[in-house]
Amino acid sequence: MRKFTNTGKLSLPVSFAAIIIVWETLVYILKTPNYLIPAPSAVVQAMIEAFPVLMRHTSVTLLEVILGFASALVLSAVISLLMVRFSVLYKILWPYMVISQTIPLYILAPLFMIWFGFGILPKVLIVVLVCFFPITVGFVQGLTSTEPELDELLQVMRATPSQILWKVRVPQAMPQFFSGLKIAAAYSVTGAVLSEWVGAQEGLGIFLTRSMKTFKTAALFADIVIIVVLSLILFYAISLIEKRVIRRRNLL
């Protein structure tokens, strides 16, 4: 068994290194022009050259992501709890939430810009919109998935509705709540980048369009790498918090 776990740990770095090496070699052998597919080394070089500029753009995007994610978190938590406590609210709000997810983001982004200007607000709102749904779906599902027998036991123990909510439903919802958070974290950076495409002064999305227009494909790839790394960091940060909150592994 030990052997398998060890190879499991190594499989990611090994496969990643293999892909990079094969990629680099192919580009070298086929002499592919850099503006089509840059070699990994060219991407690294572009990243080093543009590093200060890239970091400035990253900080703008990161701010949008954090503001949007945090607002979505608070909003989702409050609305989920209210919907579970008062089922009328659930019946009223739920259809609109689903509808909000069916409107394509690349239509909403320019609309938000028309309504809220060129500043950070429309970008934050897009991130909120992207994050809100997965967090709420996960949390509501967790909050409402009590076994019917447990409900009966609580009834026999004469638990009040608020006791049932805080002592049973909320702790029980934590695994699904965190699943939603992780999905939201993974999408949030992409959401911010997309909203910047439509119109912004700074941000990874703007750097992306600029690199594209000037055929600096290596810089474009460098930008993508940062987007991926940023998303991964957010994802694993949430996983880390999850492990601290949910001490026990097999919770359900």
Binding site: E147, E149, V156, R248, L252
Partner: protein
């Protein structure tokens, strides 16, 4: 004296696919206070439904259910009920699971911490108070669920097949332990089981239920003196009770 539980002509039916399904039909059952009363019957005969009704969870019934002199239609009975599943909360450790009923009733703050610790050792859970349910064996989990039921407010305890899911050896061990603890405290217990030997060994009296629609087909007093030790299961008297239950169950 007033019986702890007095059930007369209880009928419960469910509607399944628009058809009426009679689950309990004219069930009559009396349990005096301080007695250990078992209910035995084939699977699906409505034993759990009977308990759900006594606990006030099943509202649609005819007949009357009186708990400690109060009709449960008029006021919800105070009852300690252990369901067929252990229903431990996985995010709470043993101690936190056990005190849940006290916590919900708001009496935890006034409860002596030593009392809780004493109960934990009396239920054989010493050293496991900080363990989580997923770290416990099946027998341990049942002890935790039993202790939680023990701490629920109510003079009548309903135990729905607490040992049903345990292996034979653990089961025997738990029966010995439960007899001991019951003989010390003498609470009113209604106990559901599938197991004839378990019913005779633990009970003062046994009600036998017939297959659906569930009704009481036999009532047998088990006059074996207490304290009972596990070697009584081989005595002629014990075997005779077993034989009577077997034939009652075959009706």
């Amino acid at each position: 004296m007033e019986p702890a539980v007095n059930i007369t002509d209880l009928c419960v039916s469910y509607t399944l696919n628009k058809k009426e399904l009679k689950v309990l039909e004219n069930v009559n059952l009396r349990a005096e206070a301080g007695r250990f009363v078992s209910i035995i019957g084939p699977s699906g005969c409505g034993k759990s439904t009977l308990f759900r009704t006594i606990a006030g969870l099943e509202k649609k019934y005819t007949g009357s259910v009186i708990v400690n002199g109060c009709d449960i239609r008029n006021s919800r009975p105070h009852i300690a009920y252990m369901l067929q599943k252990d229903l431990l909360l996985p995010w709470r450790n043993v101690r936190q699971n056990i005190v849940l009923p006290l916590e919900l009733a708001g009496t935890l703050k006034n409860t002596d911490a030593d009392f809780i610790e004493n109960m934990i050792s009396e239920f054989g859970l010493k050293g496991f108070a900080d363990a989580y349910p997923d770290e416990l064996s099946g027998g341990m989990r049942q002890r935790v669920a039993l202790l939680r039921t023990w701490l629920m407010e109510g003079s009548v305890m309903l135990l729905d097949e607490p040992f049903g899911a345990l292996d034979a050896l653990t089961r025997k061990h738990m029966q010995d332990w439960l007899t001991g603890i019951w003989e010390k405290h003498r609470k009113t217990v209604l106990f559901i089981t599938h197991d004839i030997e378990e019913a005779v060994y633990l009970s003062d009296e046994v009600f036998v239920m017939g297959p659906r629609p569930g009704r009481i087909v036999e009532h047998i007093n088990i006059d074996i003196e207490r304290p009972r030790k596990s070697d009584i299961t081989c005595t002629p008297l014990f075997i005779d009770y077993k034989r009577r239950l077997v034939s009652a169950l075959q009706v």
